[in-house]
Structure formats: structure tokens, C-alpha cells
């Protein structure tokens, strides 16, 4: 695979003209025409760690249309996970500049639970263990809390059970795992499958997968990828954050963004991931520098 021609991050916005990377300058939340609207728009996002005041994201621009799968790759410390946390609304980060809109709505002022109810889902790199809360209770509480926030009626116990069993079966998650406390004593693979189960049950519109491949062997990764692929649909978009290319063999992205030092430095097709795989990040970073 020949390396892609030199492209500075400055060119990111205009290098693609296939409608997948947005270039329009319309302000957030003002576009009534949803058809042409990007699902996720990140504009010139600057983020600092609240306590240290250290800038982690230094002007991220990214557009993700409905139904698309975009990958974000980058070396350690490039800001990938920070971006995922800021999207989900984790505390401890200060957005100093820029905006994030989901379906035209500015989400930066929204609580994490409100973002979730609007269809944003973050699959954690390190899913949290919660002793004493059964996986089943957790899922039911989450489903019904989201429905409540959206003004929809709660699911009956029977309907919920049916839904979970069906989704769990596809991910080879047995009933025993559903009864256990959330992620407690789960293997790395089980934790990630549990993330995908939550995604399948909550049916988000935008799925952010933060290093979902980390700590997985090949078989576990395949299972997770199958779960993700089964959820791909024209109404649902994915932002797949990964350090390695291997996950992208199983979840084929429409676009690949390379992130370094808090910015997107390159954007291209799936072949960009292979370039990284073959040459590492060093070459790309040099080009930018």
C-alpha cells in the first residue's frame, strides 16, 4: 500500500468531498433540514484538564454523518480517550473553546444522562465494576431511565426480559452473567461483550467505542466486532477509537482519522489504517511536524 500523499491537518476539511466529512459552516442547532445534517459535529474543540489546566485537545474538528462508521486512531496520549470522555460528559474536563453538536443540538451543557437519552453511548475502555448492582438491574434501570427522560413509557418486566435475553444470546452472554454484579469478576472479553450488550439494549444513535479491542484476544475481538456489525444501520453512527488497526479488520470504517497531540492530523479512507499498521505513527507525525 502506497502512503497517501502528504496532507496537513489543515486540509482535513476540504480533502474529502463525498459528503462524509462535513464542510458546511452552519451554526449548531439552526438547521431544520435533518436530512443533510451531520449527526455529530465537533468544531474546533479545545479541552483542558480541570485540575492541572493542561490542554489535551487543541482544536479537534470532526463530522460524522448518520449511518457512518469512522475510526479515530492515534498514538498513546494523543487525546483519543479524552475526546470520548468529553463526548460522554465526564467531569474533570474544561471545554475552553469550540462546540459539539449531536443532531444539531449543543450537548456540552447537557448532563451525561441527558446525552445518553439523546442517543449517545460510550463503550468504555475500562468498564467499571459495580459491586452489589446486578447486571440485570443496571440494564433495566438504564433502559427505563432513558425512556423516562425521553417521555416514553417504561418497559414492562416481561418485555425487558425478552429484549435482554434476545440480545444477550447473540453476544453469547449467558443468564448467569446477567445476574452477576456489573462487570464483577468478568474477564476482559466478558466486560467488553457486556458493553456491547448495553449498546444493543439501549439502541443508541451514536456509539463511541473507546479502545474496545484493548485486552481482547482474537476470538473475543471477533465476537465484539460481530456484535457491533450487527448494530450497524443507516440510523446509527459509530466512532471507533483504537490504537491498533486490527479491530478495523473486523469493523470496516468508512473513514479513518489520525489524531496526534490533541488534533486530527490526517483523514482518509480505510487504507489509512493500514498505512499506520505498516509504518507506525512516527512517519505520520513527522509529516505534520
Amino acid at each position: 500500500m502506497a502512503p497517501a500523499p502528504h496532507q496537513g491537518f489543515r486540509h482535513v476539511m476540504d480533502e474529502q468531498d463525498n459528503g462524509r466529512v462535513g464542510t458546511k459552516a452552519a451554526g449548531p442547532g439552526q438547521d431544520a433540514n435533518k436530512e443533510t445534517k451531520e449527526m455529530l459535529e465537533i468544531r474546533n474543540l479545545h479541552v483542558e484538564l480541570e485540575e492541572e489546566g493542561k490542554e489535551i485537545l487543541k482544536g479537534v474538528d470532526l463530522s460524522l454523518p448518520g449511518g457512518a462508521v469512522h475510526a479515530i486512531m492515534g498514538p498513546n496520549g494523543s487525546g483519543k480517550s479524552t475526546l470520548s470522555y468529553v463526548l460522554a460528559g465526564r467531569e474533570g474536563y474544561a471545554v475552553t473553546k469550540g462546540s459539539i453538536t449531536l443532531d444539531g443540538t449543543d450537548i456540552l451543557e447537557l448532563e451525561p444522562e441527558e446525552r445518553a437519552a439523546r442517543g449517545l453511548f460510550l463503550a468504555f475502555q475500562y468498564p467499571v465494576e459495580i459491586p452489589g448492582v446486578s447486571n440485570m438491574t443496571f440494564l433495566r434501570t438504564a433502559v427505563n431511565a432513558q425512556r423516562k427522560l425521553r417521555g416514553e413509557p417504561e418497559l414492562s418486566a416481561a418485555d425487558f426480559l425478552k429484549l435482554v435475553r434476545e440480545k444477550a444470546k447473540a453476544l453469547k452472554i449467558d443468564a448467569e452473567m446477567l445476574k452477576r454484579p456489573v462487570n464483577m469478576g468478568f474477564s476482559g472479553g466478558e466486560k467488553k461483550r457486556n458493553e456491547i450488550l448495553q449498546m444493543a439494549v439501549l439502541e443508541p444513535r451514536l456509539c463511541v467505542l473507546d479502545e474496545t479491542d484493548s485486552g481482547l484476544d482474537v476470538d473475543a475481538m471477533k465476537l465484539v466486532a460481530e456484535g457491533v456489525n450487527a448494530l450497524r444501520s443507516p440510523e446509527r453512527s459509530f466512532l471507533v477509537i483504537t490504537h491498533y488497526q486490527r479491530l478495523l479488520n473486523h469493523i470496516t470504517p468508512d473513514m479513518v482519522h489520525i489524531m496526534a497531540d490533541g488534533r486530527i492530523i490526517r483523514t482518509g479512507g480505510p487504507e489509512l489504517a493500514l498505512e499506520v499498521e505498516n509504518n507506525g505513527y512516527a512517519g505520520l507525525l513527522e509529516e505534520v511536524a
Partner: protein, 436 residues
């Protein structure tokens, strides 16, 4: 000796106040003797004072004052705990047995015999005379429990239960509180014969100030399970004592749920006297000091006196707005108590920076082949877990409640009966969600 005067004056004043209720009762020889002996013990011990080792974290004044402080009954529309459980109900209102509100205790069923202390005490001879007050007396060593001796000396009523078979229907003691200045003492005795089994439930505040003693003597192969929900009156004051002695291969469990209460001291002294016996003690307390102070003290003493016994202590407290939690737990492994398996865990979840948790875990081991572990932690809500839950659409407050309930559940899990455990869980969920 001059120094002793204030405390012995206080003791006489306390005793005089207690005796008022007893004067008009007819009491048989055995009960009179037991009371007299307890009074002797109490005089030797004196009332507890703030300098006593086991009263450093809990001021005894409210418990030792001659008159109780006022406590208004708690108004609630929620059904009483254990409402859905099929059980034999025995009701005490402000410390007085209420036969009309109770089931017929003379027809308690196969394998169980129940009589009130008041009734049994009228006869000069009774099966209980060999047992009543004995475990309390034995439990005064090595740590004095003067308020338990006070109880034996003064309690005018309670239930005496002899269990000869495996009883499946729980006996339920219901403690109602109406009088804002009631001062009640109840003394119960449960005697389990070889292979017998009983579940005892207790719920309700009992009185403005309530002092209880529960003596449990379990013969070989017997099983005793105890679940208690202490009343929710904000200003109520309670001191409770459990004294248990366990024979070979017998099993004992006790769980206490507490929410509200200006002052609660729950003492338990459990002696594993027979080989291969087990004792599990647990408590879940939920305290909010916003409107009324909340002070909750678990003082537990487990004695391993035989081989291959297992004991567990799991105590959890959730504290906010200046609430105070105390845990004093001890495992004493006597010489020769080999293969002992002792576990002790006390944890507090602090929902703000105002609350206090004072813990004194102790191990004292004189045998060389034992496994004993203990731990005590104090912490805030886990922010990682909170964010995880919120990221799934669960609002902050609801997510916090879920984590609070999960924290307490490790204690609730110690309840052996699933239906009773679920009843306690439902109750806790309601309280946590309403925060009050």
C-alpha cells in the same frame, strides 16, 4: 470514694425510676431472684461513663438519665416491614404486651412454646428459671454491659420461647411506640433444644427510650436466625443487647436494619461454645443528621471457644449531614479454638464531609491455627461508578441511590431467607429513594 458518688447517685436514680413500673407486679421467686442478682451485678459495674473503654465513642447520658427524652412517633403511610411474611405476631406497645393486637401465643404451633415474662414470672417455678439472665451475666466478662444488667433487673416483660422442633413460621415481635415519653425495657429468652430451629423477627421503635435484651441459647445442631428492623422515629433512643451461646454444629445469624434514631447502641455478645458452630452478624444503617442527630453504634463481641467454628461480621453504614457511626467489633479466639475462621468487616459510606465514622476493630487470638481477617473502610461515592451509570442514562440522584443500595446489600445478603431479605431490600429502596 468521693469520686464514685455522682455515678452511684445516678445509678440509684435510674433504678428508682425503673422500679416504679415493677412495684405493682406480682413476681414469683425465680424472677425476683434473677432481678436481685442483676441488680447486684449492676451495682458492682456501675452505670457506663464516658471514660469507659467501650463508651468512648458513644456518650451514655441519654441512656442512663433517669427520665427519657421526648420522642414523637414517626408518621408514615408505608406498610410495616415483614407485612407480607407469614408469621406469628406478638405486639408490645410502649413496652406493654398487647394481647388483642397479637396472635394467640398459647397456640404457637408444633415444636414451640411461648409465654410472656410477665405471665411466667407469676409462678414460683418455671423452665426459664435455669436460663433467664444467665447469658447476660456471663456476657459481662471481659467487657461490662451494665445496661443489660439494668434490663434484667428492671424489665417487666418480654417473651420466653422454648423451641423443640424445626419451626418454619417466624415469630415476629412488633414494637409500637405511641407515648412521646415512654421508657420501656423488654427481656426475651429463646431456648433452642437439640436440632431445633427458629426465625425471630423484630420491628418497630418500641418506645421513646427502649432497652432490650435477647438471650439465645442454642443446643447442639440448633439453628437461630434473627432479622430486625429498628423503628424510624427520629428522636427515639435505643440500646439493645443480644447474648448468644452456641452448641456444636449450631448456626446463628442476626441482621439489623436501622434508619433514623437519635441514639442507637446495638450490642451483641456471641459465644461459639461448641465445635463446628457458625455465627453471622450483620447490620445496615442509614443515617441522616439533618433534622435530628443520628448516632448509631454497633458493638460486637464474638468469642471462639471451640474448634472449627466460623464467624462473620458485616456492618455497613451510610451517613450524611453530621450523622455519626460507630463500630466496635472484636473477635476473641480462645486457646484451643483451632481452625477458627473469623471475618469482620465494617464500612461506612459518607455522602458528605460532615459525617463521622469511628471504628475499633479488634482481634485477640490465643490459638495458633486460625484464619482471622478484618477490615474497616470509610469512603465517598465512587465517582467512576457514578459516571458509568450516568453515561447509561441513569440520572445522578438515581445512580447515587443505586450505589448506596449496592453498598448496603453486602450486609443484607447475610439474611438467609430470601423473602425476608427482599422485604428488607424493598424497604431500603423506598427509604433511599425518598431520602427520609
Amino acid at each position: 470514694m468521693a469520686e464514685r458518688h455522682p455515678r452511684s447517685d445516678a445509678l440509684e436514680a435510674r433504678l428508682a425510676a425503673c422500679r416504679q413500673g415493677l412495684a405493682q407486679e406480682r413476681a414469683g421467686a425465680w424472677v425476683t431472684r434473677a432481678r436481685h442478682e442483676a441488680e447486684q451485678r449492676l451495682r458492682a459495674l456501675g452505670l457506663p461513663g464516658p471514660r469507659d473503654e467501650y463508651w468512648r465513642f458513644t456518650r451514655p447520658d441519654l441512656l442512663t438519665a433517669p427520665e427519657p427524652a421526648t420522642a414523637e412517633p414517626f408518621e408514615t403511610d408505608e406498610p410495616p416491614v415483614f407485612d407480607e411474611i407469614d408469621r406469628l405476631k406478638i405486639v408490645f406497645t410502649d413496652g406493654r404486651f398487647d394481647p388483642r393486637a397479637s396472635d394467640d401465643i398459647s397456640e404457637a404451633g408444633e415444636g414451640i412454646e411461648i409465654v410472656t415474662l410477665l405471665e411466667a414470672g407469676e409462678s414460683d417455678l418455671h423452665w426459664a428459671q435455669e436460663h433467664y439472665g444467665r447469658l447476660e451475666a456471663a456476657g459481662q466478662q471481659p467487657v461490662p454491659r451494665p445496661l443489660a444488667a439494668l434490663n434484667t433487673a428492671c424489665a417487666r416483660n418480654g417473651v420466653l420461647i422454648r423451641v423443640t422442633g424445626k419451626v418454619s413460621r417466624p415469630v415476629s415481635l412488633i414494637y409500637r411506640h405511641y407515648q412521646p415519653q415512654s421508657d420501656a425495657m423488654l427481656h426475651h429468652l429463646v431456648l433452642l433444644e437439640e436440632g431445633a430451629a427458629l426465625t425471630l423477627l423484630e420491628n418497630g421503635p418500641g418506645a421513646a427510650r427502649f432497652n432490650t435484651v435477647l438471650e439465645v441459647n442454642a443446643a447442639d445442631g440448633a439453628r437461630f436466625d434473627h432479622v430486625r428492623a429498628q423503628g424510624r422515629d427520629h428522636a427515639r433512643i435505643a440500646v439493645t443487647h443480644i447474648f448468644a451461646r452456641l452448641g456444636c454444629e449450631s448456626g446463628f445469624s442476626s441482621f439489623t436494619l436501622t434508619a433514623n434514631g437519635r441514639m442507637t447502641r446495638n450490642e451483641a455478645v456471641v459465644t461459639l461454645a461448641g465445635d463446628d458452630s457458625t455465627a453471622h452478624l450483620a447490620g445496615a444503617a442509614l443515617g441522616d443528621g439533618a433534622d435530628t442527630p443520628f448516632h448509631h453504634d454497633d458493638t460486637v463481641f464474638v468469642v471462639h471457644g471451640a474448634e472449627r467454628c466460623e464467624s462473620r461480621q458485616v456492618f455497613k453504614k451510610v451517613l450524611r449531614n453530621g450523622a455519626v457511626g460507630v463500630f466496635q467489633g472484636k473477635i476473641l479466639v480462645k486457646q484451643g479454638a483451632q481452625k477458627t475462621d473469623g471475618y469482620q468487616m465494617s464500612q461506612a459510606l459518607m455522602l458528605d464531609g460532615d459525617s463521622q465514622f469511628l471504628a475499633k476493630p479488634e482481634l485477640e487470638i490465643y490459638a495458633d491455627d486460625v484464619a482471622c481477617s478484618h477490615g474497616s473502610t470509610t469512603g465517598a461515592i465512587d465517582e467512576e461508578a457514578l459516571f458509568y451509570l450516568r453515561s447509561r442514562g441513569i440520572p445522578r440522584r438515581q445512580a447515587e441511590n443505586l450505589l448506596v443500595l449496592a453498598f448496603l446489600d453486602a450486609a443484607v445478603e447475610e439474611i438467609r431467607d430470601e423473602a425476608i431479605a427482599n422485604d428488607i431490600r424493598d424497604r431500603l429502596r423506598g427509604w433511599v429513594e425518598r431520602r427520609g
